[in-house]
Symmetry: C2
Subunit: 444 residues, 2 copies
């Protein structure tokens, strides 16, 4: 396959990125969009246009996105026509007033139809904030402040509290890479982690701490719950009278419809959504059982921008389309089309990889001591073929089988190049700028 | 003046509101938009269209908004053409991708130009969340967790912690009406209130608590700082090494440009904005001094929807227009046009009122034992003349002198009716459904 852009020019992006690090705390608004997480050199940092799976960068280069699709929100692809039309309709009619938006009630009805066990909803405009609202409601109901949790739940104090080092021992952090600087020390000991699929860890926590009132977890991300893990968690929550929160911010609509909990038939007390719920427009939603929400009624939760109209309008249009196209089945199937191409091409080039599902988060790992370098080299080399590509993908409805045929040709060439680099022992030398920054570790 | 709609029909709104209270926790997303805060009966709850100062409700009734203008965000009026055009441009180009939005860097540059003392910015999509980020950064810098505060700062734990009753004594709440149910009790004592313009209260706090690391306040809302209050707070912050946060979410662009702090020449370490910064599109921003932001670099703050593109695009268009039209001077002037009409008409009808500035929040109070009932009756009767009207206003650029001439005719008629009701002692009888719910009390 011909390399279309052997020396992509990303000068404008690079200059803006250097400047952004000066003027923005951390340089980016989402850590997962930091260029150094992908590559030390060469990742196109900024975009001007995005449509379907296509992205145009600040320097005018064109790519197809076989990486994170906005890090989750764009399950229908970028700039979905139906969702955008619904949003523009709202903009034309005015998206805010002293009166309320009927769309937020309409969305409540749709969410409650999708969650027959739930009685009430609440909204925010970011995943981290809706998680904080969920924990507030759960604590209000149980009357107990300690949270046992598993998985990733954002930047707020209640969650990062788990990393408050009792002895200033940063190595002891339970979520390596997440610094709790500025989280009040009084919260130390209030967030207690357990690992996914290790029910004995949660059992040990509830034995030791009689005052756990909340259990918060992602029902699934990369690994399926085993040995009835979710059911066992549900049983423990019921036994100790804790509120069970399923964080479906990443799994929602992808691993089941509306959420991963649907796939396993385990019902939480509260489920939270963001990201894919609104296909790129800021929105987050919580659904909860009657008994839990009733008690939270008196807790003060209120925000001006939680009352604007685009969020619910975008979510209504998104959810209707996601349901209509059977999105969870689509991404499972298409994800594995990609996964099998990886397997076939790795075999052809004798590259040691393992492909894992679920299809929605299809991913491969190099089973090799130089795995980290190979992973980055894959991303670096795929850019030459006009692909934003990572070994872990967020599959979307905009990824069509025809796109995969084309993508597989680029993977074929890059896997060949990687195999050759491995044979010649030049993997590290070929990786410009060295290994990328590593991400934080999730309790998944 | 002719009453155009003596019996406004709001059946659809009423039915939807009854349903919303079933399916949404609290019924609304912003407490200040709860209909019972305006009137027990008759407030049109939901809108379908809003443009300039005009609002159309769910039942097809038409109003002009001389009340809260979205409770703050719509300083340029509803559906501003320039801002909406900027947003639609972003939607057409795609508002989200795996790459970052150059607009967030462009906005950073504009914000830093407006705040020459600041070095870095950070974004969120709601006022409450940006306040929580500010407190996180401030605690990270000072290394001390206690916050002395004044004014209103949203729903998050750090703030509501002040209402954690040590003896389950709800009457002792420092912010009456804000329930801290679900706020971890470990935070008790971490948020310490002082009153605006009472420097001795802050002095007493810092004498008693040696570990205050953050002072958070609104630089001004309804009352001007007196006796160099802000400068004295600044001096105390410097003396004890606390980070001074000015919350400009309500005051920003209205009481000075960019903020009320500009009006008084006192510079905080961090300033936060939301509401008017983006004229109705979810956005919030923080600007901070170099020394403060530097230390926060390692604290984990990250959210997918903090990285979308509409927020910064809307803020850029909004700020450019707000600056160009000298918005703070405009609303000060136009607010007082309204205020003087109130004074003139109250005098004419011998109604006991006091009008107070600032123009941006022009407001009047009935100096009468039945003040609460008169206030609600004003709102109730103004609806007959197609006005959403409250004695406290958020003045916008869309309120033109010609609108005020028309509005004054309605006020003339309603003040006449109120005066007659007072003389006949039937104020309470005329108020359908009784007194509205009271709001919470701010430390202003």
């Amino acid at each position: 396959m011909k390399q279309k852009n052997t020396s992509k020019k990303i000068k404008k992006s690079q200059a803006l990125w250097r400047h952004a690090q000066e003027v923005m705390l951390g340089g980016v608004s989402l850590l997962s969009k930091k260029p150094e997480r992908f590559l030390r050199e060469g990742w196109p940092v900024y975009f001007t246009k995005a449509k379907g799976i296509e992205v145009w960068d600040l320097d005018g280069n064109h790519y197809k996105d076989f990486s994170y699709m906005g890090v989750g929100p764009n399950l229908l692809g970028y700039a979905d026509r139906e969702v955008d039309a619904a949003v523009k309709k709202v903009i034309n009619a005015g998206n805010q007033s002293t009166l309320n938006s009927p769309e937020e009630v309409e969305l409540a009805d749709l969410l409650l139809k999708l969650h027959p066990w739930a009685a009430q909803v609440r909204y925010a405009r970011s995943g981290g904030e809706i998680a904080a609202i969920a924990v507030r409601i759960a604590r209000a109901h149980s009357g107990r402040d300690k949270v046992a949790f598993c998985g990733y739940h954002g930047w707020h104090d209640w969650y990062l509290a788990t990393n408050l080092a009792k002895k200033k021992n940063l190595d002891g952090h339970l979520l390596p890479g997440l610094q709790p600087l500025g989280v009040p020390r009084a919260l130390s000991g209030s967030a207690l982690p357990f690992s996914f699929n290790k029910i004995e860890e949660l059992e040990a926590l509830v034995r030791k701490h009689k005052d756990i009132g909340v259990i918060a977890m992602e029902p699934m991300r990369h690994h399926e719950p085993e040995h009835n893990f979710l059911k066992k968690v549900r049983t423990i929550a019921d036994r100790i009278g804790a509120v069970l929160i399923f964080d479906e911010i990443s799994s929602g609509f992808r691993l089941g419809f509306p959420g991963a909990h649907t796939r396993f038939g385990v019902i939480p007390d509260i489920a939270i959504y963001s990201k894919a719920i609104s296909n790129g427009y800021p929105m987050a939603a919580l659904v909860g059982k009657k008994k839990v929400m009733r008690e939270a009624h008196a807790s003060f939760i209120s925000s001006t921008y939680h009352s604007e109209r685009i969020g619910p309008a975008a979510a209504l249009a998104t959810l209707r389309k996601l349901e209509r196209v059977h999105i969870d089945q689509y991404v499972e199937r298409v994800g594995w089309l990609i996964g099998r191409e990886w397997q076939r091409l790795a075999k052809k080039h004798e590259l040691p990889i393992v492909v894992e599902g679920p299809g929605a988060f299809i991913n491969f790992t190099f089973t090799h001591p130089d795995a980290q370098a190979l992973k980055a080299l894959f991303t670096q080399e795929m850019l030459r073929y006009e692909y934003l590509a990572t070994p872990t993908m967020y599959v979307s409805y905009a990824h069509k089988p025809a796109d995969i045929v084309h993508y597989a040709k680029a993977v074929d060439a890059v896997f060949g190049s990687l195999a050759e680099a491995l044979r010649r022992g030049v993997v590290h030398r070929r990786l410009r700028g060295g290994l990328p920054e590593s991400g934080f570790v999730r309790l998944t």
